[in-house]
Symmetry: C2
Subunit: 248 residues, 2 copies
């Protein structure tokens, strides 16, 4: 597989996609997803883990609300990974992640994830290259554990936006009353590290690809939502799940 | 390394060991261990995981009480692994194990462990050979994660008793009022699988040996306690720990 170069991947929908038609399509997919998720829950044989990564303002929270928010919250849970607590820091970096792994029957969404341990940490040099390499190995082993020993289907999304789009969205947080609560002046500082972030993401795609990454052009929310709903739909569809019938 | 053949290893102390002298020695070691454990806690840079495996009545509870019971309970915790709950069964087999991994500064004792997932489960054919092989790989990855990413020092003990000694101890549980609470008629049924248990243990020693097993001759408690206290002592001693001084 050729290495992923983010600069060479568009952050926008291909021209052939029409916004309104795509939105209608997404609604149809979401409708079917609702049934599939119910089946996943009822059957209880598979687990689904959705890893959501992306730069600040790439639209992670939006996907969670607009795509996963359509599903039954009884079978869909979200874990947001923030700065580790003192207790978390006193354990290996996957300890808190493993604790949040989905049980069979549910879709667990990671809003940021174990990948931050080889992204933000490397950008700020809290994690050196040698440690990063070891962490990548541990991440691959961990994802293999979930896959092989709990029928966990892992979907990894990178929400791909342009730096220009990011700046515009961060600025909206200053002016739009509905978005001000998300404003954090540090985000502008962080945005200055754009190029090194891209490099670290590319390194992560290159070394943690046993379960492939979905690079999602995300400058337009309607296209991003369509792609993510579609990916989840086709994953669930392929499981050939059955309602279990009456318990014996 | 030659494969471990349990039949060829004595379950008793070599003749040169004198019971009273050894007990005195163990007391001295425990006294030093108390200081070392305090240092481990104060320094907070290393974690210790003690995995205690062995057949029924091999003396796991006894070691925990008589060796680890001498140490400060603030820095020594015990997790006993029983039949998995419904919630645990809905996750990969290492989920509940990882959750109980020690934080830095403490000694965590596993009374039985993730190894049961390739022992009792194989004896009763709940786990086939192919699954067992995958689990062994996952166990090795997991132990490597704890070792490499949280400075965890793992000590794995197999309490080696003879089947005759086991029968005697199980019978004592019927007649000794202080031991009756441990009596479980199923233990006698389980004991009939002795040979297949030995085979599964040997297979586990052969494939999960990146962190070596300590085979502890355990027919005599005084010798077993001496060996385990010694192993823990030398592990802690090698860490060259330092009291951290005043916080800056």
């Amino acid at each position: 597989m050729a290495a992923i170069k983010l600069k060479n991947i568009s952050t926008r929908a291909p021209k052939r996609y029409n916004k309104e038609k795509t939105k209608t399509k997404t609604e149809e997919i979401l409708h079917e997803l609702d049934d599939l998720q119910n089946l996943l829950f009822a059957e209880g044989k598979h687990a689904v883990l959705v890893v959501m990564q992306g730069m600040d303002a790439s639209g992670k929270d939006g996907v969670i609300r607009d795509v996963f928010g359509e599903l039954n919250p009884q079978g869909v849970t979200v874990k947001s990974f923030k700065v580790p607590t003192e207790e978390e820091m006193a354990h290996d970096f996957l300890w808190r992640v493993h604790a949040a792994a989905p049980r069979k029957g549910v879709i667990q969404i990671f809003n940021r994830s174990h990948y931050e341990d080889i992204l933000v940490t490397r950008v700020h040099k809290w994690c050196d290259d040698e440690t990063a390499k070891k962490r990548m190995k541990a991440i691959n082993d961990f994802e293999s554990l979930l896959t092989q020993h709990n029928n966990t289907h892992i979907l990894k999304f990178y929400l791909h936006i342009s730096p220009e789009e990011q700046q515009q969205r961060l600025n909206e947080r200053i002016h739009d009353p509905a978005k001000m609560w998300k404003y954090n002046e540090k985000d502008f500082e962080e945005a200055k590290h754009w190029d090194i972030y891209m490099k670290m993401y590319e390194d992560c795609f290159a070394h943690c690809n046993a379960i492939p990454w979905h690079i999602i052009p995300s400058d337009q929310n309607w296209y991003k939502e369509y792609l993510i709903a579609s990916a989840l739909h086709s994953t669930l569809k392929q499981l050939n799940m059955q309602y279990p019938g009456l318990k014996k």
